[in-house]
Symmetry: C2
DNA sequence: CCAATATTGTACTAATTAGTACATAATTAT
DNA sequence: ATAATTATGTACTAATTAGTACAATATTGG
């Protein structure tokens, strides 16, 4: 016997037709709050109490909604962050007149970021460095999400090559990896040296691959 | 009245002429053991007990020798690691016939590292990512040490430019930063994608700045 | 041999951790 | 209204944390 089941999008609240006391929070919203804490403190150093305070919910609600505890919350935060980020990036790219130029500007703007004082790095890159061997599965999630962003770059490059907009004839996968590697590097390098001018020149040198 | 004081190198044990029970450990040796633990587990996740076990000393000895506790141990481990690393790198460079070629090979070899399965990244880069805002001073130590390695690259590049061994006429500081940024990037990128072939091609593309 | 000194090992503390148990509260369906 | 269901808040637990206190130990100099 088979049943027709309606799969609702996860973000659609089903409160209206469900029995029981209603949730006082929206999962997406509290995960977003958790991202802030994890990003600022790091995975290990972010305590459950601190997370709950930021999320504005109590332990009862939390461990009911996130049965896997802190780890589940972190994985969900990685996914949600990455989804939002990639979606925004893809959208901005589709809106831009010159996608290669957009990427160039995207990287160059990292040299004079006004938020440079509080350098938090890349949320996914941080995960790869902060997670220990015990959290191999979570690490893998972060790795896959970062690879997804890499693919966005790769796709732009492939298209630009087809349209003869860039001279570089290397495989698009290689240029895409080059770009994500540049991104990964900057997120470390910026933390160790705030010299904006050298950083800018270094970025300009790096972006010659897009000529 | 002035006295002539003989300053002994720190690593020279002065036990022979000192009163009191002799130390059962050598500080450099135990710090080296601690590096292993910090590198594998990360700063936060490395517990004092675990560190002490690896170092083979008890709490009494530890807190006497490292009054600043875990934090002092970590800072010392950063310095000692970096000293050893830079010294080795400088030595290898001075031994090599072609220093630019050495650097090129140094980076290319990262693509087929036999220890790729256990990717621990850069000890100093990890520190920059793993330390939270509360450990700003320790972070600064790591940043300065990483900059020192950058300067080693810069010096090689400057010399190579003077000797017309590379065509790239950008400021050596910029090329040096480019190289340390490449290093920082790879130590993240390798963790997210073990595809050796793409990585190798990406590195070859990156190293064109050394032509 | 004894005083002075430095190191060691153990037992303890006080704080913090993640997570559980469960009574209470707020909702829907009948 | 009341039964069923789901969420919430609080009080608790059990483990782990970094670090301290201090008596016992091993050395040097006199």
């Amino acid at each position: 016997m088979y049943y027709l089941v309606q799969y609702l999008p996860l973000h659609q609240k089903q409160q209206g037709n469900m029995a029981g006391r209603p949730k006082i929070f929206d999962e997406k919203e509290v995960v977003e709050k958790a991202v802030d804490v994890f990003w600022k403190k790091g995975y290990e150093a972010a305590s459950a109490d601190e997370l709950l305070a930021a999320m504005g919910i109590g332990k009862g609600s939390f461990y009911l909604a996130f049965k896997g505890g802190k780890k589940e919350l972190y994985e969900k935060s990685l996914k949600q962050f990455s989804d939002t980020y990639d979606k925004q990036l893809s959208h901005d790219l589709s809106e831009s007149k010159d996608q290669v130029e957009f990427i160039r500007h995207f990287f160059l703007s990292l040299a004079d970021d006004p938020t440079a004082k509080i350098i938090k790095g890349c949320y996914l890159g941080n995960a790869l460095v902060q997670l220990s061997d015990g959290d191999r599965d979570t690490k893998l999630v972060a790795a896959q999400l970062l690879t997804r962003t890499e693919h966005i770059f790769t796709t732009v490059i492939r298209k630009a090559q087809e349209e003869k907009k860039i001279k570089n004839t290397a495989r698009p996968e290689v240029i895409g990896k080059y770009l994500i590697n540049l991104w990964n590097g900057i997120n470390i390098t910026r933390r160790s040296n705030p010299n904006t001018e050298d950083l800018r020149e270094m970025l300009e040198m790096s972006l010659k691959v897009l000529d």
